[in-house]
């Protein structure tokens, strides 16, 4: 396993664990307005918000600066992974738009807590999908060349 591949895998696992933890806390609180009421939930959210991009930055991004660990083949894979990242971000925004429109159409307004949720989710999805894109890139290159 290439060093960057290993780091992308660790980043993906850490990101998924933090994301699942966040979803579990939100589910346990009952609804999204708990974000406004509960300061602990906001703290958890901020921890995830900082933790996911930070783990991605340390594990993936900084390794790109180490010439002994990354070469031109790895860089090609990273460049291709941006496509996966872009698609994931677009689809998540589309999903948010459709879901919120359909759920809150009658009320004519959306709770402000969703602003934070949308931002956090897009940030997390962006970091996770690039790690996933890197892993897919290695898999595709090993399979097809």
């Amino acid at each position: 396993m290439a060093p960057l591949q290993k780091r992308a895998l660790y980043s993906l696992v850490i990101g998924l664990v933090l994301t699942i933890a966040l979803i579990a806390v939100l589910a346990a609180q009952g609804d999204v307005t708990a974000f406004d009421r509960d300061p602990n939930l906001r703290l958890i959210m901020y921890a995830v918000l900082i933790g996911v991009p930070l783990s991605y930055l340390i594990l993936v991004n900084l390794s790109l600066r180490k010439p002994t660990q990354v070469d031109e083949r790895d860089r090609v894979i990273v460049e291709r992974s941006v496509r996966t990242q872009w698609l994931a971000v677009i689809f998540s925004l589309v999903a948010w738009t459709i879901a919120l429109t359909e759920i809150y159409r009658d009320q004519g307004q959306v709770p402000i807590a969703f602003l934070n949720l949308i931002f956090v989710s897009v940030l997390i999805i962006s970091a996770l999908s690039q790690s996933l894109g890197i892993l897919l890139g290695y898999w595709r290159m090993n399979r097809n060349g």
């Binding site: 070469d71 083949r73 290159m141 097809n144």
Partner: protein
């Protein structure tokens, strides 16, 4: 459409059974890239191709061969 083949594995054995790690270190790439090259799953940039040829001390054509249509050359 052509295909680029290489003799890296052969050349490694001809050079005192040079390890993939050693070649990677000399050529300035990772061992995984040498493995991918030997398996024909990656085509290197011109720069890396030259660095690999230089690591063996042979001309580029001795390491990489282009198997394409003759018309493509003209």
């Amino acid at each position: 459409m052509g295909r680029i083949k290489n003799r890296i594995r052969r050349l490694r054995f001809d050079h005192d059974e040079m390890t993939q790690e050693e070649l990677a270190s000399r050529a300035g790439c990772t061992r995984q890239t040498i493995i991918a090259l030997e398996q024909g799953k990656y085509v290197p940039s011109i720069e890396l191709a030259f660095r690999i040829a230089r690591a063996f001390g042979v001309p580029l054509e001795e390491v990489f061969q282009y198997e394409g249509n003759q018309e493509a050359n003209g």
